[in-house]
Symmetry: C2
Subunit: 554 residues, 2 copies
């Protein structure tokens, strides 16, 4: 019996290994990184075994491809058979109706109760967006594992109209866990289902408050457009802990949602699938202990993750080193970039020395802001110097341009400029209809303006729009509004008008106001040429701030 | 304990269910036939369970596609988990080194000895040409099953240069089986390996003659070209029974090879994959009993096979009904064909009444020889009458032309005619070189003439050729030679000359003569426009006949 944190591993304590977004098979054909996902999956399952967990809980995207390659499937089966089968007894019970929990399965019961399988570590998983069910049979990759008795696939729904989530009820000693899950659903659809009160989480009849309510979800947590994510506030407040899959940044330390009074843990992916800052965060899995209604989450750093160093440089911030007008500026810039990469490589080497499991070649990304008259250079030739040292020689450098003045398109977006030139108070008193009318009077017809009060599906006016044109507008608009408590009254008026718009809805939920009033932020979809604007009144929750804001969504 | 045939199911009797070419997933997207393979696989495994066999032996092509669909894989896993797992004890031992037998597996031991799996019916299988290993990892579809512990994949070789087949040694009571297997290898390659003495079947050291030697092979058994099949004579004569996969016609009753003194059983496919006469033969699987060196093979008719009726009609044989010159001949022919199809449908209906497991709609094929001036008609319109009655409404009719005189191309092939016009004895005394020389003097350059003595890979002269032109030639040539014992001397001469051609070979095996002297026949690849001729001297084994013959190969 071991102890960790405040929790003793006694007969009442569930020990659960949580991980998500393992993305088996990601870049499997890459000569350097091809085996990364398999190696790390092995590490994760080995941790489960060594920590003698009661079960493993996965948050989706076990596989990277919807149709994993034979090699990927083979590696997965191998690892699961190796670590999940054995003689260690399983000392927790399942109390719920398994035929309901696993109704989609040909073997609708947990694998560890199958007398033909000697399971030592049951794995429970929802599916993610990468490995979601497809085709007329509605099968997904983990259904093959499920059929083979290697995984317990839960959180599936047969309906696309409504979700009724029946928890898997587990008991160990005196601790009881109600395990809820929703396999990945397109965010917009699930958002709508929540809004329309079509998501129901069933509660155990007996001793409703005696359960630790654990919920696994695989959706956007950060806002990618107005309705293209799931606000935490949508989730029932009886929950105790939400394990949030899909988001790749490791934010595994549970964060308390002060309104809903549950905690959210976001384990993050166990493989770096994009060379962005979020993936540079040290990756962990979690060892969750639950005793009664108390929990403790111990972070376990993953040892086999390929190192990833990312650094941003802005060329114009180094006038002492080079200026655009200098004759040999490009060579100087190259030398500067090379130095930065070498610094990262040295740091990687230093850190790797302490850990023999770390793959040899790190991922390196140098983002070079060349704004201000600098020119890009041939990244291929630059990369050749590092071809034997880094895992991503082809894309070490990334040239970006920030804060470029957009003088050349100024005249095209003058309609927005005109809006902005008014006093903020005047903008807020405009009705959305007025805004649209005014917009149409000047705008060309190549953009989309979404106006919505609550969800983008109703009462919308669409006007095509190019993205370059709104960013400054929005930023200025937000800057003018942020933290200006004195304008609260005006905002309040806008909200009241906004509410009037949704009064026509038939079945307004009691908590509608809460739902619409979640924290607002502007999410800009990258790489999208055409986008939508959502004009929306918002109340910043957990603060006294309120603002009217224009949303940009995909 | 039950009895069947002459064999009592006692503790010394192995009971083995044999089947092959199940082709899971064949036509899986067909609305009518899509589930046929799954249903029949279920039937086969159910038979294994009901007959309480010791194990199932499959001869390859369990899957139709090298990369089976998710549905196919799911169905397969489901059936295997359903029937192969359970508490019935397994009462035979494995005596061989499993790490050798299953060296390619991540779990190199038979599944029924894995303490984590409760296997009631082990399945042993080689792979076929449809589900053979591919890719850098050399994995095949059944390796996924093997990794999941559902199948024992044997008969794999890591080398493409030579095969050393180490048998799986099994013992039940006093009966001992040495189970040999070769997963599918391209026929030409395996042929060459046999010829070059690169195939070795290892024998158990202990009591070499005390074993029942069972061999599973998945290759062409019928000749598709000179070296594009495996002659039975290639196989070691210590074998007792050969289970021959790949060939789809059910010839399951063991046939004794009088030279090698073993038996061959050809279970045939369990699904109709082509509408040819071979597939119309009633399909069976086998219940093989082995006690000591004795065996008994009980045929088990499959109940779920879709009915298939095929009939040939030759329009010119019915001058009383229609003649080509009649004005409304096409309508009469259509009515005639319709009648034939209806007869088959009625017969199908009658037969189906006795068996509730038979799928409702039969496969119907009417082959219409329209030679003699008849014209084809629109088969689509014809088929519409039967769209609700047959499983293959799109291709009921097949128009063929037989025995057409090829007057219009006569001058092009006069070189062959000229050859034929000579006395046979003269032909036989020609050297192949002479034939080629003569051929070139007259022939156009659009054909291929292969001359080979033993295998088609050496000393060849290629001349393009169209297939229409050689058939009569070959037939006449053969007719003139067949069973003419009086010409033995001339044939002998030809053989001697032929042998001279191969004398340059470096490593002549002791049994080369036997190998090259296997029975000869002319195999004509259908649907091939361009083919090759092989001029070859052949000795008909097990007879006193010898002949010089022209081979046609692809």
């Amino acid at each position: 019996m071991t102890s960790a944190g405040n929790t003793i591993d006694d007969e009442d304590t569930f020990k659960i290994l949580i991980a998500t977004d393992i993305h088996l098979g990601y870049l499997e054909k890459d000569a350097i990184r091809g085996n990364d996902t398999f190696v790390t999956f092995d590490e994760i399952m080995k941790q489960a075994m060594q920590n003698e967990v009661d079960f493993v809980l996965l948050g989706g995207d076990l596989f990277h491809d919807n149709k994993p390659s034979r090699k990927t499937m083979h590696c997965c089966i191998e690892v699961m058979r190796k670590y999940c089968m054995g003689d260690r007894p399983i000392i927790f019970e399942i109390l719920s109706d398994q035929a309901v929990n696993f109704s989609h399965s040909k073997f609708p019961w947990v694998n560890y109760l199958d007398t033909n399988l000697n399971i030592s570590i049951p794995v429970f998983s929802v599916h993610g967006n990468h490995d979601d069910p497809t085709g007329t049979d509605g099968l997904c990759a983990i259904d093959l594992l499920s059929c083979a008795g290697l995984i317990n696939h839960f959180g599936r729904s047969r309906s696309v109209e409504k979700l009724e989530i029946s928890p898997v009820l587990l008991q160990k000693g005196n601790t009881r866990i109600a395990l809820y899950g929703i396999g990945s659903v397109p965010d917009e659809r699930l958002y709508r289902m929540f809004i329309n009160n079509q998501v129901t989480m069933l509660r155990p009849r007996e001793d409703e408050d005696g359960w630790f309510n654990l919920f696994v979800i695989h959706q956007n947590r950060s806002k990618h457009g107005a309705t293209n994510y799931i606000p935490e506030q949508f989730l029932d407040d009886f929950l105790d802990l939400v394990v949030w899959g899909h988001e790749h940044e490791c934010k595994i330390a549970p964060v308390r949602n002060e309104q809903q009074l549950f905690y959210v843990t976001q384990p993050g992916s166990s493989v770096i699938t994009s060379l962005s800052p979020g993936e540079a965060v040290k990756k962990h899995i979690g060892l969750l202990r639950v005793k009664g209604k108390k929990m403790n989450l111990q972070k376990i750093p993953l040892q086999t993750i390929r190192q990833f160093f990312i650094q941003d440089v802005t060329l114009s911030e180094h006038p002492d080193l080079f200026r655009p007008e200098q004759p040999n500026v490009m060579l100087k810039v190259m030398a500067f970039c090379q130095e930065k990469v070498e610094e990262m490589l040295e740091e990687a080497e230093r850190q790797r020395l302490g850990n023999p499991l770390t793959p040899e070649k790190p991922l390196i990304r140098l983002r070079v802001d060349y704004s201000g008259g600098f020119e890009v250079f041939n990244t291929m030739r630059f990369s050749q110097k590092f071809v034997d040292q880094v895992a991503n020689p082809k894309d070490i450098l990334h040239f970006i341009r920030h804060r470029e003045s957009k003088d050349n398109i100024k005249e095209e977006c003058m309609d927005f400029e005109a809006l902005l030139s008014r006093p903020t108070s005047e903008v807020l008193q405009l009705r959305v209809e007025d805004l649209v009318k005014e917009y149409f009077q000047t705008a060309e017809k190549v953009c989309i303006l979404y106006m919505c009060v609550e969800d983008a599906d109703q009462s919308l006016v669409n006007i095509p729009l190019k993205r370059d044109r709104y960013q400054r507008f929005i930023q200025q608009f937000r800057d003018s509004k942020r933290n200006t408590a004195e304008e609260d009254e005006e905002v309040q008026e806008a909200i009241i008008r906004a509410k009037a718009h949704r009064d026509h809805r038939d079945s307004v939920r009691d908590d509608d106001l809460n739902l619409s009033d979640e924290p607002a932020d502007i999410a800009v979809e990258s790489d999208e040429e055409s986008v939508c604007l959502c004009l929306c009144s918002v109340h910043l929750q957990n603060t006294n701030l309120k603002e009217v804001c224009i949303y940009v969504c995909k």
